[in-house]
Point group: C2
Chain length 361, copies 2
């Protein structure tokens, strides 16, 4: 048996408001230089392309996002930017993307990656990625990366794993998954952290295309007809049919639709400096900081400024006695807010929508 | 005796740092739209020109400032923008400017006005200005406006006046000045306010040119030779000589050099909504404010933003939970500071100077 190839699917269809005013409806986080000076999707693509040849890297996003992807990633073969017929959740997207790979090689391994996450330690990530691909090749399992929690987050899903039945591939441990847990309450999150056998669901998955097909059939049988029809539509290159099927698939995340139900899933420790960079506050950990904890893009001059996050590239920001602020300057909007209230940025958007200032959303 | 004409001298040579980053070395406060949407010198000029014909309005400032004045006030006859040969304090400037008027008409009344103060109630100001001109015409006094203190400021000089010997001109009361007092300590300022017969020195003066000449001779005799020589240089139109004299005059404010020493000075209540708009905090009283006390130039959208001062014209500023901040956006610099520390803006300038970022000063 030939060694099955590793393909990558970069999920780039997301949208969000948490990085407003830098992010806008038409330019979500993955297309912005949030964590570094390159856009997050460029970082994701470059990281993966160290190990996976360009022709085996796919992106999946809506039509306008796919246009932006082609601009940002001109190296990517044009056909590899898979266009979602409409905005759905991750299950329809992954059925479509995995079916693409399946038709090329049903035994190929598909690695699914978010386009807007940060990985600090790329060499370790690549080593673990090889090992996870090996696990997917050699087993009938869906494989995932779990991140050791550093605090009882209520913003992530958790994976409960077993310390028994550990498998090893390429020197890395793979733990059998006991269960997937939705975003918990704070009390529950604290219990998870204390228990020690819970990790955050990073949203990265690996599976052989054929294993995915069988897992859908067995654990998410409602979706199996769509899978079958999707394969047919792709084979026929019938776009109308493909759109119709895509729209018919219940919009659900892959966690709910499949991962929570599948058996024999394996999880590997994603200890490579992973972050979903979920808010302005979070970037404070990744940007250059001065001795008073001011994280910044652009020059900052400070008199008693502490623990601020300043995005004003190419310009100078002067801080005078301010603490714990988010300061974000864009061409048309300036945001000045408290770091500990960064989750309320969406309220500003609601207000803009109400007052008809939709061009700023 | 013909009714003597009223001339205006607008003092526009000042510089300062308190409105940085909007104000810069080459563009001090008087050339900026600080209080309203017009520059402060335009406001001053327009206010005065309701009552004084253009040919009798002079400005005095250094060469580069005078260039800016001609741009901002194209109506002003070119020769009326008097150029200071070098940067000195107000005494040399007022000797030069008053000598200009003296040579046209020694019995003319000269009104001296700061170019960067705000007057809210212009009709009352103009009425009082007429009365003060009348007082200057009819007496041998230097005449000034004093502002009733609203708090024990340590940032203004005070004028102690007498309740006896009140004169009346054009229906307005003029109080004999007991003494001029330099910027006091807080304790002293509180005593002044409590006493009730102290007013702030507004820096506005009126005098007949001949009265000024005699006052210099009698109360500031050290300056009298410069006055005489200045008249000669102006008569001869000898610029080199004029520059030489100007540079020789001790650089002192007119308060120290003359007003504190002169006798028979009169003060009139400047109750026309006067403010020197001395800091970013002060503009909060003059700009449009929302229901949460956010004073603003430019659109502001706010979630729990209170008592902030926002200068970001033509753009949108979003506030999230912040209170008591000064936010000033310019082309190259953004300032975010605490309102109660606005006096420390100069520290930022010192830091910029130290780090060689002089283009931002």
């Amino acid at each position: 048996m030939k060694k099955s190839d590793l393909y990558a699917v970069i999920m780039a269809g997301g949208s969000g408001t948490r990085f407003w005013p830098l992010s806008r409806r038409r330019r979500p986080k993955q297309f912005l230089p949030i964590a570094t000076e390159r856009t997050m999707i460029e970082e994701t693509f470059c990281r993966i392309s160290h190990q996976i040849p360009l022709r085996r890297i796919f992106t999946i996003a809506n039509a306008s996002q796919s246009k932006m992807i082609r601009r940002l990633l001109p190296q990517l073969p044009k056909a590899n930017a898979i266009v979602e017929p409409c905005a759905r959740d991750t299950t329809p997207s992954l059925i479509l993307a995995t079916a693409h790979v399946y038709l090329k090689d049903p035994e190929a391994v598909v690695g699914v990656f978010a386009s807007d996450h940060l990985i600090v330690n790329v060499p370790i990530f690549l080593k673990k990625l090889q090992a996870a691909a090996e696990a997917a090749r050699r087993t009938e399992s869906l494989v995932t990366f779990g991140v050791r929690p550093t605090f009882p987050s209520t913003g992530y899903g958790y994976i409960h794993y077993s310390r028994d039945g550990i498998l090893k591939f390429a020197g890395e441990k793979f733990f059998p998954v006991e269960s997937f847990r939705e975003k918990p309450s704070l009390t529950t999150a604290k219990e998870f952290v204390k228990a020690g056998d819970f990790v955050w669901n990073s949203g990265m998955f690996l599976w052989r295309a054929s294993v995915f097909a069988r897992a859908i059939e067995r654990f998410a049988p409602d979706y199996h007809p769509y899978w079958e029809r999707m394969l047919k539509a792709l084979k026929k290159k019938d776009r109308t049919m493909l759109s119709k099927i895509f729209e018919d698939i219940p919009a659900l995340s892959i966690d709910y639709a499949l991962m929570e139900k599948a058996e024999h899933t394996l999880v590997c420790a994603g200890d490579f400096g992973w972050s979903d960079v979920g808010s302005w506050s979070a970037v404070g950990d990744f940007w250059p900081r001065d001795e008073n904890g001011n994280a910044r893009r652009g020059m900052v001059i400070s008199i008693d400024g502490r623990e601020n996050i300043v995005y004003n590239p190419g310009k100078t920001t002067a801080l005078l006695g301010v603490e714990g602020l988010i300061i974000v300057q864009t061409k048309d909007v300036l945001l000045v807010g408290r770091r500990d209230r960064d989750q309320e940025v969406k309220k500003i958007l609601e207000m803009l929508a109400k007052t008809g200032k939709t061009e700023l959303i």
